[in-house]
């Protein structure tokens, strides 16, 4: 567990004291091993609580929904910064209102994987992180072997935007980030459906995926509307599948692949495969990547004469 570097703490303290921001959102240790928790700091003297290491899995950009129009500072990993960029492109954030501490990230720990390796319950682990090593009572694990599956697919380790950076930029692999998605595409429809059914059988409709998604910012989600009622939240597979399909499609061309949803899911549902399939489709159809350019428009809100229309019957 690493306290923030002094120069970063000084910068944040300066922002808070000058009124450039009223709040800084970072991470602090939680009561559970290998999992940090979001921390909200309003006074410079509280900055000593904050940490940055591979246990900081939440995407703090999600919290900006609560602070619209406010001047806020926050920590972002590469994936989280893409969410900032995507939200700016959708006109949801004003860059001047933000003070951003970027962190170069090599992946965040999936405590459940460490627990599986140690043969213990997550809450029983005696674990800590130093750099890219995850140490348990009697094991020394490489971060790459116990990080979230979402991090293995990451090709954006460094934040696109920041005011101050922690760490040295990391080289992003130049290979195809979608190779596992293409493998799923290559399966037959029966196999894909079986896989989809299996994953969603874990879902209990707690809506954590929606609530942590930076892009699920509708004032009232379709799933919550009662006039008209689109959706009845039973635990039946048809309702769970309906909700997840609609949520996924609402993110087409907008999802930046931060995978906050997959990491937040208390049931361990693999949401990434569905969302990355859509990201792959958007890339192949429109050559658009939602988390790169704060200018311009999401592809599904614009029309070009040369847009692909091969799917029109």
């Amino acid at each position: 567990m690493n306290a923030l570097p002094d120069n970063v703490k000084q910068a944040i303290a300066g922002w808070l004291q000058s009124g450039e921001i009223e709040l800084f959102i970072g991470y602090e240790a939680s009561s559970l091993p290998l999992q940090a928790t979001p921390a909200f700091v309003r006074k410079a003297e509280d900055l000593d609580r904050l940490i940055w290491d591979a246990t900081c899995e939440n995407n703090l950009v999600s919290f900006l929904k609560q602070f619209r129009g406010k001047k806020v500072g926050l920590m972002v990993k590469g994936c989280d910064a893409r969410a900032l960029v995507g939200l700016m492109r959708e006109g949801q954030l004003v860059r001047d209102n933000l003070r951003i501490v970027g962190v170069c990230c090599l992946g965040v720990v999936d405590a459940k994987r460490v627990a599986a390796a140690a043969g213990q319950a997550v809450e029983e682990l005696d674990g800590r992180v130093t750099g890219t090593d995850v140490l348990t009572a009697d094991q020394h694990l490489a971060l790459s072997s116990v990080m979230h599956a979402t991090c293995a697919a990451c090709r954006h380790h460094n934040p696109e935007i920041y005011d101050i950076l922690i760490g040295e930029p990391v080289a992003d692999a130049d290979d195809d980030p979608f190779d596992d998605i293409r493998a799923v595409e290559a399966l037959g429809s029966a196999e894909r459906w079986a896989r989809f059914e299996h994953e969603l059988s874990k879902c209990n409709l707690c809506f954590a995926c929606r609530n942590v998604c930076p892009f699920c910012y509708c004032n009232t989600c379709f799933a919550d509307k009662t006039m008209p009622r689109w959706f009845t939240a039973t635990a039946e597979p048809k309702d769970i599948q309906f909700y997840q399909i609609i949520r996924t499609f609402h993110l087409a061309g907008r999802c930046v692949g931060c995978n906050a949803c997959s990491r937040a899911c208390p049931q361990g549902v693999d949401l990434r495969t569905m969302l990355d399939k859509l990201r792959l489709d958007v890339w192949e159809l429109y050559q658009d990547d939602a988390g790169v350019n704060p200018q311009g428009h999401p592809p599904l809100t614009t029309y070009r004469e040369d847009d692909d229309n091969s799917f029109v019957l």
Partner: protein, 354 residues
């Protein structure tokens, strides 16, 4: 405490088959990569004596959703109510932890007693034998000891099993348990086995961190309705329903009519005080407009209103909400904050001495 019997590992499979003769078996099983309480085919599937499942067993009596009644095309014509579904199937719920078994006592106060009894709940409860398994593996998030409970608490169970190196010492707790226990023809447990069973649960109790959360909590909360601490506590809450869904004691529900061309069904399903829509009124007004007021409700309900209204806390200390929270909001820390805040206020109150 009555006689105790011995169930050896060699007899376990046959005994579980016997249970299946008695009723539909529900037990901890692996489903979609998760240890959870579910209908079990037989002994082969049952996983006994593990630490807590991620989700509680409350669905056995209070399912995540259920059909209360079906109706024809016209909702206003009561002659068209076609089916009122009361499930009287005999069931055996095997292998719940003592904290889960204890939670049923509180659910009984809500759904099963007094002037307003829920026929759906009562039918399932009356037809289900609860066989708990004493807890040999409490984890760092367990705090049943804060409620005067512990790894060998038999409250709410008909039968309690004590794990003893693969065998089980069997205690018949309730009248229903004593009655069915006669059919099992188990030998009496010898003193060595009973001592070993007690040693194992005593060692488990030792592993629980000493924690004082509930002494005076109702008085502490009494002055904190308007406190700013709820805003601080709730700031990182993402308003998902995980804590309430996984909680064995949370029992709030919503009733909706699901209408199809062929007719409709009146459904009851879990709802959660963490959801903004939970208190939304038809006028558009929401008396709990922010997550701070929702968290206040969560804590007040469990630790003030329920003790006042039914004489029991709305929490058994199973720790599921802590482990499953996507932002790791820890209710133990919230209760400690409540206590500190009450102390601070008491110290600052005028007219108090020392």
């Amino acid at each position: 405490m009555g006689e105790k019997y011995l169930l050896t590992k060699d007899n376990l499979t046959a005994w579980i088959s016997q249970l299946q003769q008695h009723g539909r078996l529900i037990a901890p099983v692996m489903r979609a990569d998760e240890l959870r309480y579910d209908y079990a085919d037989g002994a082969r599937e049952v996983v006994l004596g593990q630490h807590n499942t991620r989700r509680s067993a409350k669905w056995v009596f209070f399912p995540q959703h259920e059909v209360l009644l079906r109706y024809g095309k016209r909702l206003d014509d009561y002659s068209q109510i076609t089916d009122t579904v009361i499930d009287n199937t005999p069931q055996v719920l095997l292998g719940v932890t003592p904290c889960d078994a204890r939670s049923f006592v509180m659910l009984d106060r809500i759904f099963g007693q007094g002037t307003c009894q829920d026929p759906y709940y009562c039918a399932r409860r009356a037809n289900t034998l609860v066989i708990a398994c004493a807890c040999a593996h409490p984890t760092s998030t367990c705090f049943c000891n804060a409620f005067g409970s512990g790894p060998a608490d038999s409250t709410g169970a008909d039968v309690l099993l004590y794990p003893v190196d693969g065998d089980y010492v069997v205690e018949l707790v309730s009248d229903a348990g004593k009655q069915i226990g006669l059919d099992w023809h188990l030998p009496l447990a010898n003193e060595a086995a009973i001592e070993r069973a007690e040693a194992i649960t005593a060692a488990a109790a030792e592993r629980l961190q000493p924690i004082e959360l509930t002494a005076g909590i109702e008085q502490d909360l009494a002055g904190l309705f308007e406190s700013g601490l709820w805003r601080e506590v709730a700031e990182k809450c993402i308003a998902c329903g995980t804590c309430t869904y996984n909680c064995p004691e949370c029992h709030c529900f919503n009733i909706v009519d699901s209408e199809l061309a062929s007719g409709g069904a009146r459904l009851r399903g879990w709802d959660a005080c963490m959801f903004p829509q939970f208190t939304a009124q038809a006028s558009g007004y929401n008396p709990r407009p922010d997550q701070a007021s929702r968290w206040r409700q969560r804590v007040m309900h469990k630790f003030s209103y329920l003790p006042a209204n039914v004489g029991l806390f709305g929490c058994v200390g199973c720790g599921r909400c802590i482990v499953s929270c996507p932002v790791r909001l820890d209710i133990r820390q919230v209760l400690q904050r409540v206590h500190q805040e009450a102390l601070t206020r008491a110290a600052a109150a005028p007219g108090k001495e020392g």
